[in-house]
Symmetry: C2
Subunit: 422 residues, 2 copies
């Protein structure tokens, strides 16, 4: 008997047009479309192994080696159930009605009836404050898609994104690499609220990102509860939804297609500001940006001012999700200068997240020796912060979509139990 | 020969519906109406003495004992010129056409042609971060109105507010005590953009205010330049102007008329949030709130949550102008509890601004012994800040409009020079 098991990894994505607000909280249907850049899995990823076995007695999931309860009616249960349903509908039922076993695959046609064991692992610590739900649910859906042979051309990433969306809204955007839109859709059943590829990774591989992991003492408001409070109480959100976002979606899509970084940067920053503005316009108000976040904004603003003065247009674009961390998008040619500038204001300890050494040749131990403020930069725009204010820097770039991994990369052992338990 | 001199004081006002954006920057015509509470001059005030003398060779103004240049076409020049014009139009010209000297006053009919010396003094230090332009221009206009006999019933505060507005927009609201609206008006010449009294001080004297003076390292964006940047770049401001503010103006006016603190508080906080939201939605974004401001908001939000749980409705309302200082409005019966709560999170040094001792009997040296968190309050909503984070507390209340002061309170000596020079 063969082993029914598959392992996949999926990337993190960081939106440049933000998702904030649901019109259906159960199906996770958004109040506006959004658009993101998929980040490179070589740096940040979730990896998931799924295994179906008639001997398993119940669906079980381990997250980072620890059992995560699959609650009835919960998001995990929904995704697993929907993937089983898709398997049954597209392969098993179809085969039953018109038996052509050799056109599907050699695997059991009863696979969707077996219980599954799933192990998922994020390669970035929770302490980094990076949302793992997008990459996590994308990896879950991708590994189940491999397990169930729900792969192109039979099933597109867009179709899988309909299911990942029900795990975590932004997870749907991690089903593609490159530049990805989540179209809000109009149907009540959510069948048109899915991810589409705006441009692949290869279209604009020079798009880099610097994640500044910002310390925060305050426990933030969860995005799930926060966004609904905004929907219920903000007097500005509806205008953002109806007027502001549609125009920006169109404009940034064109900017990406034309590889127009200046426009991309302006829209990205404006939409981050707009998102945090509607958070503030919530009762009670939601704040995700702290004084360090503000200081990073001031540094990026001055960097762009200088760049515009030199006739080079905007060269850096900050964006903030539901937390204090900054993600700075920039082109490969400028990323070294930007890292040097960030180091000048936010000196680093010898932390774990130092994927910035690449731009310096990787040979130096103390990355702070590279701190440098460009000539003509008004260094009064922010004061220099103490070590630890930005507790880590992650340098990455636009990446590809979910990957099918080789059997030896599986997270489950021969008995279907995680190789590493927490 | 008699001395043509008058001294007046004028109050600070703190808006609950915020003014942000001009439709005419020269005439200072706003993009939306606003509404404020006038604060008690016994605590915070600007005092101004104006003197007209045929012997003076030029209009001269001293602010806090230091000469402040009256630039041609500038705001000071505009206010002085407009007051002279009003004097000429309403009294001198009228008298010339129909000479009835005894119906005006005994003073010279040529008074508007004399040069003036003006001394102005704010009783609160610039370090407090409180805008002095509103009380300052209101005191300037009020002292000139006294000097020129432009007083009721001949001239109403609303008419004077048209001139104060051209000195500093929000100054027009300091021409009345109590609760004051600045109606945006529609005429291009600004003749209907003026202050009106919504309710006098005596209508709701229980309205108290606690000003929390917050330290900030960052130099903020001036409101004059900031608001025009918002007008030019924010995609949310127009919605605020057209839809949000008009509804709030009507609702808070009713709340004031009905002495409905719960509604007053909800609208006040919502409009402060909305104002800071459109600041954030500006390119580049404008931030006035810092981490201490945010912590004060968290404390007020939790205080209200507890109060609502107890069936008492909202009991505190924060509002923030173009800076990090909080003003907390509350009713007299609750202000002591609120001061105790603020002291628990933001301990005080023996600073200058301690007009909070009144509620404790005024006998204690170290005000921090009064720190107290109400039972049932979730003290995890904010961490306790170090001494100096809130560098002063000013406890005040709703107050009256500009006052005519006695000759012995004059700031100018017999020679028309400030008694105290900086």
């Amino acid at each position: 008997m063969s082993v029914y098991q598959a392992t996949a990894s999926a990337p993190v994505n960081i939106a440049v047009i933000k998702y904030w607000g649901k019109r259906d909280t159960k199906l996770i249907l958004p109040t506006n479309s959004s658009l993101s850049v998929t980040l490179d899995q070589d740096h940040l990823r979730s990896t998931t192994t799924s295994r179906a076995d008639p001997a398993f007695t119940q669906d079980t999931l381990w997250l980072n080696g620890k059992i995560d309860e699959i609650k009835a009616g919960g998001r995990l249960e929904t995704c697993i159930r929907e993937m089983k349903r898709l398997r049954k509908e597209i392969i098993e039922d179809k085969d039953a009605s018109a038996p052509k076993a050799n056109q599907v695959d050699l695997r059991s046609l009863q696979l969707s009836e077996y219980k599954v064991h799933i192990a998922s692992y994020n390669n970035f610590p929770t302490a980094a404050g990076l949302a793992s739900s997008a990459s996590g649910f994308a990896a879950l859906v991708s590994s189940l898609a491999q397990l169930y042979s729900l792969v192109p051309p039979l099933v597109s990433p867009s179709t899988l994104s309909l299911i990942a969306r029900q795990g975590s809204g932004s997870a749907c955007r991690s089903l593609y690499g490159g530049f990805v839109a989540w179209e809000q859709g109009v149907r009540p059943d959510g069948s048109d609220s899915l991810a589409i590829e705006v441009a692949p990774q290869a279209h604009w591989p020079e798009m880099h990102a610097l994640i500044c992991v910002v310390s925060d003492t305050k426990k933030g408001t969860s995005s799930t509860s926060g966004m609904q409070r905004t929907v219920e109480t903000s007097t500005l959100l509806q205008h953002r939804i109806k007027e502001v976002v549609p125009a920006r979606m169109a404009a940034i899509t064109t900017a990406i297609q034309q590889r127009d970084f200046d426009t991309f940067a302006r829209i990205t920053m404006a939409d981050s500001n707009s998102f945090h503005a509607v958070c503030l316009d919530t009762e009670p108000p939601i704040f995700y940006l702290n004084d360090v976040s503000r200081a990073i904004i001031s540094v990026v603003v001055e960097y762009n001012r200088l760049s515009v003065e030199r006739g080079e247009g905007y060269k850096a674009a900050y964006t903030y999700d539901a937390g204090p961390n900054a993600v700075i998008y920039a082109l490969e040619k400028d990323i070294k200068e930007i890292i040097q500038l960030v180091l000048a204001y936010f000196p680093q300890t010898a932390g774990e997240f130092k994927d910035v050494l690449g731009v310096f040749g990787g040979s130096v131990q103390d990355v702070n020796v590279h701190a440098k403020i460009p000539e003509g930069f008004n260094d009064k725009v922010a004061s220099k912060w103490e070590v630890g204010s930005v507790k880590g820097l992650i340098h990455t770039k636009v990446g590809d979509g979910p990957r099918a991994l080789a059997p030896e990369e599986a997270l489950l052992n021969a008995d279907g139990i995680p190789k590493t338990l927490a």
